[in-house]
């Protein structure tokens, strides 16, 4: 049977072995293969520290944001993550003046004075240090800025500023948008980061109890751990299947098997889709096994509680599968099209950018175009439930995209069998002709 032959080829390939080794190394190094080392989710007790969460509370966000903005303005050094990567932005003189006008509108301090203060502090070589504000860069790539509830900056930082009393939150937001635009996007003042950066507030006892009840009643505990497992699994499984697809397709070329396969009676759709299914099966079976090993490690922690034993299957096929499908489809399509490993560069670059962009929604949020939706937390069931439709749309869209890519791969393969398309033959000839001159 063709499917079993293809499956055997995949399972006994070196690329499959590396995929398994890489996946196990990833989940084991993050402590999610054996979840018993993770925190046990228990009913909160009064008087505990329940952590913080981002909330859009104007009284908290506004003073903290203006404090940090003024500090960055004075040193003319703005931190931004325009597409997920750290960027340090310095503004030109004109843009600094525009920024001074924004701060002036928010604080009532004349722009000239602000420019003068900024000029002096820059000349003095002052650096802005967060005293009652602190940027905490986390290991998973995320960060938070924690601030005390203060309407003005501490004098010890060397920068002192306060908001005017008559500024509304809507006005404040519009100025923040302008400031973000001047910086070039992705700054602390952007829609994406404003509440996360400055709206961190302590979680109350009632909120902690609500969150626990959601994890107990909606997630049946296993769901919370499953999302964390998916987060790490997708970091590797959204890129590694492309290598298996490329290796398998290139093997036909290297062993000169194409001619033999082309002359068979099996249809192109059958050959290509069977190979595709074989790769997906080979990747997903170990993923399900690893997921069950991970999930089973917490069953003992919640004796007597209602658990969902089918969670690994639901999350594997609902969350992980579409990314595996896309990665494999990109590999097969581009390898059939070009007869080169170009798919590795394409998928590798997409993966690299996507993973870094994902840092902005690392606690959930699931943007529609995210290849690997992140949820790097055991908490956040409310975020998951509130954004479930968007996550479902994302996953369906990627699954559909993968199917489209595979249909294109079938068409290309059929054309090659008919001798009408030989990879990128014409382009190759053109460039090799140029090289030979």
């Amino acid at each position: 049977m063709l499917f079993l032959r293809e499956l055997k080829k995949v399972v006994f390939s070196i690329s499959f072995f590396v995929l398994i080794a890489g996946t196990i190394a990833m989940v084991a190094s993050q402590g999610v293969l054996d979840m018993s080392g993770q925190e046990k989710l228990e009913m909160p007790q009064p008087g505990q520290d329940y952590g913080t969460q981002a909330k859009e509370i104007p009284e908290v966000i506004m003073p903290a944001a203006i404090q940090v903005l003024y500090g960055e303005f004075c040193t003319n050094s703005y931190t931004a993550y325009p597409i997920g990567f750290y960027k340090n932005v310095r503004l030109s003189y004109d843009k600094r003046q525009q920024m001074a006008e924004i701060i002036s509108a928010l604080t009532g301090t004349p722009a000239d004075e602000l420019m003068q203060a900024a000029g002096e502090s820059t000349q003095d070589g002052n650096s802005y240090t967060f005293d009652d504000s602190e940027i905490d860069v986390q290991g998973n790539g995320g960060y938070t800025i924690t601030t005390q509830d203060s309407m003005s900056s501490d004098d010890e930082t060397g920068f002192s500023i306060a908001l005017t009393d008559d500024i509304s939150y809507e006005e404040f937001l519009s100025y923040m948008k302008k400031a973000d635009k001047l910086i070039g996007g992705g700054s602390f003042y952007s829609d994406t980061y404003l509440a996360n950066s400055f709206g961190q507030t302590a979680i109350t006892y009632e909120e902690a109890v609500d969150s626990y009840n959601l994890i107990k009643d909606s997630d049946h505990f296993t769901g919370a751990y499953a999302r964390l497992f998916c987060d790490y699994m997708l970091i590797v499984l959204s890129v590694l299947p492309v290598f298996i697809a490329v290796a398998l397709c290139l093997k036909d070329k290297q062993t000169s098997m194409n001619g033999l396969i082309y002359s068979r009676t099996a249809s192109s759709a059958r050959i290509i889709l069977t190979r595709y299914l074989a790769i997906i099966t080979a990747v997903m079976v170990p993923a399900v096994i690893l997921f069950y090993i991970s999930s089973a490690s917490i069953w003992g922690m919640y004796n007597g509680m209602k658990l969902d034993y089918l969670i690994p299957l639901k999350y594997c096929f609902g969350w992980i599968l579409p990314s595996v499908m896309v990665s494999t489809a990109v590999g097969m399509l581009l390898t059939e099209l070009t007869n080169t490993p170009a798919a590795i560069a394409v998928q590798g670059l997409w993966w690299f950018i996507d993973i870094n962009l994902g840092v902005s929604s690392i606690q959930g949020g699931y943007p529609l175009l995210r290849l690997a939706p992140r949820h790097n937390s055991l908490q956040g069931t409310r975020i998951f439930l509130d954004n479930f439709n968007r996550l479902a749309a994302n996953r369906l869209m990627f699954a559909g995209f993968a199917i489209l890519l595979m249909l294109a791969a079938v068409v290309i393969y059929e054309q090659k069998r008919r001798g009408r398309l030989n990879g990128y033959g014409k382009i190759k000839k053109l460039f090799s002709g140029m090289a030979n001159r």
Binding site: I14, S15, V18, L19, A21, G22, A25, M26, S29, Q30, S77, A80, I83, F85, Y86, K87, N88, V89, R90, G139, G141, Y232, I235, V236, V239, L240, F243, I244, V246, A247, L250, Q254, T255, S256, P341, I344, A345, G348, F352, I353, I355, N356, S432, A435, N436
Partner: protein, 217 residues
């Protein structure tokens, strides 16, 4: 007699010229595209040493995979290997020439990019440049040794990429193999990476030599 003379005088630069044209040019184009993409993805101006290490270690170091990993690829095609095997010029000489020009190109591209960052008021020290070269060479040599052992193009790229991805999550747990140490102000790992990359490059050529001689079962 003539053949012996020709063998001794076979110009190394001719091997380099032919390989540069037919085997290296696309990899170089991809490397340059990656370098040009770096300022779009990352901040490359007004960075202190640790911040400047971010684009250099996290992205520019990938040039090692692009430029060094494909050194053995042409002979992975069975037909080419059969033709090359019949030639009087040793494969080892051809591999050495390819390795030398690949490493030179890698260094030149990294140094040029570092100079660009310096022009953009970044604090890019010699240590940072050498560290980036060591990281890139380590990733590339990992691909080279995989290529020598597996004779498989996809796997040769896969192993360094998996190791690179592992560095995102495992980070400093990898000890001397931590690729992103300069971002934390640590440089001693780079010495290990450089030494290991030199050993792996030499070993991968040795493996190819052994395999050609047929000394392995």
């Amino acid at each position: 007699m003539d053949m012996e003379k020709s063998k001794n005088s076979f110009p190394v630069w001719q091997i380099a010229r032919i390989n540069l044209r037919h085997n290296f040019v696309w990899h170089l184009v991809l490397a340059i595209m990656l370098v040009l993409l770096t300022p779009v993805l990352f901040g490359t101006s007004d960075l202190d040493a640790q911040a400047a290490a971010i684009p250099l270690e996290m992205f520019v170091s990938l040039l090692g995979i692009v430029l060094l990993t494909p050194v053995f690829f042409p002979e992975q095609n069975q037909e080419i290997e059969e033709i090359v095997a019949a030639k009087y010029v040793s494969n080892i000489l051809v591999y050495t020439v390819r390795i030398v020009y690949s490493v030179i190109c890698l260094i030149v591209v990294i140094v040029l990019f570092a100079a660009f960052m310096q022009l953009c008021r970044c604090s890019v020290s010699i240590k940072l440049i050498l560290g980036t070269i060591a990281t890139a060479m380590f990733l590339g040599s990992l691909g080279m040794i995989t290529a020598a052992l597996s004779n498989n193009t996809a796997v040769s790229y896969m192993v360094p990429m998996v190791f690179f991805a592992l560095n995102f999550s495992a980070g400093s747990q990898l000890g001397y193999f931590h690729l992103f140490s300069m971002m934390d102000g640590e440089y001693k790992q780079k010495i290990w990476l450089f030494v290991l990359s030199a050993i792996m490059i030499a070993f991968s050529v040795f493996v190819k030599w052994i395999l050609k001689k047929g000394n392995l079962p």
